[in-house]
């Protein structure tokens, strides 16, 4: 694969570069990086004037659903959705069937990912904290780490038992892996299907109070401090959590967090139509919470943007709101929402945005940095920060279409990705 990227604006947080350059890629490696490079022979030349060339984006919170729920998504359709959305890598969550609580499941995922689109998208499995994600018995964390698990979580469910959480933090810190928490106090959210507040009151739907998320994060931060371990909050959604993480960082703890595009874009007002595509966990919160997400992104408290891509089939969502499963797809709208809500509204610069989509997730998961230098392998996300487009869920590459953003007009879209000697163009 020989490609010449002409006139793109390279923004690389690792090296601090921000300049217009040509990049000649030969056999998947950066052959030449400079100005006025001309294409020769079989090289495909692509004009990227006005477009951004960034180190490959990494979505650290994706539910690929395989094995076990292939009617929602497969590793192949999930990787295609990631590629279309501009991600060269994803970390996949262990709430599969069987759960990723055994090295054989990790091997299976690696094998499937290798043949999906010829390995275009890197798939990094995240191991379960406990066997079957039941919260009772530690999964073989060392074995999972050796097999390639990049972190541990019981996502879908919280690690509820403080004792198990403590031991998971201690144990995983032996091999420098984060424990990722889906923070939710279960008794406080029993039966809940949306954020508790004025909207749950008028809709007559059982609420999940924001304090249920705050409590779990507050507890975990104390445990992380006590065990001196690395702790990461998945999809945080409350102003309280942002404050807790901000303080933890100030106190020098190894605590990080991610936010989803829907949590910095929508409030629980969106639920008022009983649209089941507004049902996710954590739920859409209040205006104040959304503002806190933006402030957290701006001041660096929130390290990463991750989609919590959670595909469900059409029929599964065609039910009463209370019966519907939690979750929405997110890979193919993430860049558009981030540009529209964060860059256009002057919350983040493109430089910061790329940090949160690429550099920081890799750092949290202790993966090697993407080096944009001659001789290094090419791992790029190419996007157009100014193109306007209308979201058509039927055009999603994901097997599922459960998005509340259908019909939205967004600014910013992936042009394509380059990774592992492969390219994907939208």
């Amino acid at each position: 694969m020989n490609i010449l990227l002409k006139n793109g604006r390279l923004i690389d947080p690792v090296s601090g570069r921000d300049e217009t350059v040509d990049i000649h890629i030969v056999n998947g490696r950066i052959d030449k990086l400079g100005h006025n490079i001309t294409a020769s022979g079989s090289t495909q030349s692509i004009d990227l004037k006005g477009k951004i060339v960034a180190p490959g984006f990494f979505d650290m919170h994706v539910h690929l659903r395989e094995p076990g729920f292939e009617h929602k998504e497969t590793i192949l359709t999930g990787c295609t959705s990631a590629a279309a959305g501009g991600f060269t890598a994803v970390a996949c969550m262990p709430n599969t069937k069987p759960a990723i609580d055994d090295e054989s499941v990790i091997k299976f995922i690696h094998e499937r990912a290798k043949i999906a689109l010829n390995g275009l998208v890197d798939v990094y499995p995240i191991g379960a904290v406990t066997l079957g994600r039941k919260g009772e018995h530690l999964a073989p964390l060392a074995e999972l780490a050796s097999a390639g698990a990049v972190a541990f979580t019981d996502d879908g469910d919280p690690v509820h038992d403080a004792e198990i959480m403590r031991r998971a933090l201690e144990y995983s810190s032996m091999f420098k892996k984060a424990v990722i928490q889906h923070a939710q106090d279960l008794p406080l959210t029993k039966g809940g299907v949306m954020n508790e507040g004025f909207n749950s009151t008028t809709l007559g739907l059982p609420g999940m109070p924001s304090v249920a998320e705050d409590l779990m994060v507050a507890r975990d931060i104390q445990l992380a401090k006590y065990t001196n371990a690395q702790y990461h909050v998945a999809h945080l959604s409350t102003a309280g959590c942002v404050e807790l993480v901000r303080d933890a960082k100030k106190n020098g703890l190894h605590v990080t967090c991610e936010v989803t595009p829907h949590h910095f874009t929508l409030t629980d007002d969106a639920v008022r139509t009983y649209d089941t595509n507004t049902k996710m966990n954590p739920p859409l919160r209040s205006r104040d919470d959304v503002e806190a997400m933006k402030e957290g992104l701006r001041d660096g408290t929130i390290d990463a943007i991750a989609t919590d891509h959670a595909p469900h089939s059409f029929d599964e969502k065609q039910v009463e709101f209370q019966q519907a499963p939690f979750g929405i797809v997110g890979l193919e709208t993430a860049i558009g929402l981030a540009i529209t809500e964060l860059f256009e509204k002057n919350i983040l610069s493109l430089f910061q945005l790329i940090e949160k989509f690429s550099t920081n997730p890799r750092r949290i998961l202790h993966l090697h940095e993407i080096k944009i230098q001659e001789g290094e392998s090419a791992n790029f996300t190419l996007f157009d920060p100014s193109v306007e487009w209308k979201v058509d869920v039927q055009k999603f590459k994901s097997k599922s279409k459960n998005s509340p953003f259908g019909g939205y007009v967004l600014r910013g879209k992936a042009v394509g990705i380059i990774n592992n000697g492969q390219a994907y163009w939208n």
Binding site: T201, L203, G204, L205, Q318, E320
Partner: protein
């Protein structure tokens, strides 16, 4: 629902209320129309009230109850409703345990859907019949002060009453233990009370909700005995407050729990009028929906 619509329904109900006093209580406007009553949650009185209203309007009535039907065999609401609609139905009356279910149903079928109570969301015809009953008693709704007592959190009756009464210019308060008052409810423009004796002297009528004995026993309030002692409406409590207060209850009543027997059967109780008015109000709703183009 706008004020004019509520007014129209209540005014229309007046003439049907007269029909119900005639020796022959049947009128023909919905002749040839078929109405399906889809009750996914058991409710004897609302179902009977609707059925009676439908028959009094000469409609053909198709009854459906979830128990023993395909719903228990795992069929979705969408499929069940579409199957019934395929039999050429004109209107659907639905009761469902899930909030928003009628809203959802109206997006997947063509027929008009009447909400006969959905989860903890709304129960519009109950609020309409409550307003009808109040208007009958006071000749107005404007500036009346009504207090809804009990489990506001889980009550569709409370929500619909708040919307309706506020729209008609009445003042609405809610009273109950803090654990049964939903978050931010005051943003609906109601006053919140936790001590019944504080609000009793101020009100024209009480709408007393049934307290669910089985609801999360011991987690939301300590006991029925304590509830009765602090929120139960008794003769003694009413006397102490002075003045007369109209007593309403959507039923079914737990005697001597949320309301004492002498109050329920007392001269200020309009509980049985509510039941009768319910038929007239539902006739009005069915008539107005069924005869529009």
């Amino acid at each position: 629902m706008p004020k004019e619509d509520i007014q129209l329904i209540l005014d229309t109900a007046v003439s049907f209320r007269e029909v119900l006093e005639r020796p022959i209580k049947k009128v023909p406007p919905l002749q040839g129309k078929t109405i399906a009553n889809l009750f996914f949650e058991s409710s004897t009185r609302t179902r009977l009230s609707f059925e009676l209203a439908e028959r009094r309007l000469s409609a053909d009535v198709l009854g459906f109850q979830a128990a023993g039907s395909s719903v228990s065999k795992g069929e979705t609401l969408k499929d069940t409703a579409r199957n019934i609609e395929a039999m050429k139905i004109d209107m659907v009356v639905m009761r469902h345990a899930a909030s928003g279910a009628p809203h959802y149903l109206s997006t997947v079928i063509e027929s008009a859907v009447i909400n006969a109570g959905d989860g903890g969301h709304e129960h519009p015809t109950q609020a309409l019949l409550d307003m009808y009953t109040l208007r009958e008693k006071f000749n107005k709704l404007q500036d009346l002060h009504i207090c809804i007592v009990g489990d506001i959190s889980h009550s569709r009756v409370a929500r619909s009453n708040i919307y309706g009464l506020k729209t008609m210019g009445a003042k609405v308060s809610v009273c109950g233990p803090a654990t049964l008052i939903p978050r931010d409810v005051e943003r609906l423009g109601v006053d919140v009370y936790h001590h019944i004796d504080d609000v009793l002297p101020k009100v024209d009528a009480l709408n007393i909700l049934r307290i669910q004995l089985e609801r999360d026993a011991g987690r939301l309030f300590p006991s029925i005995r304590e509830y009765h002692n602090y929120y139960g409406i008794t003769r003694q409590r009413l006397d102490k407050a002075g003045g007369e207060v109209v007593i309403m209850h959507p039923g079914p009543i737990n005697r001597d729990v949320e309301i004492s027997a002498d109050v329920a059967d007392g001269e200020n109780s309009v509980i049985l009028q509510q039941v009768l008015n319910g038929v007239a109000v539902r006739m009005a709703v069915l008539y107005l929906l069924g005869t529009r183009n």
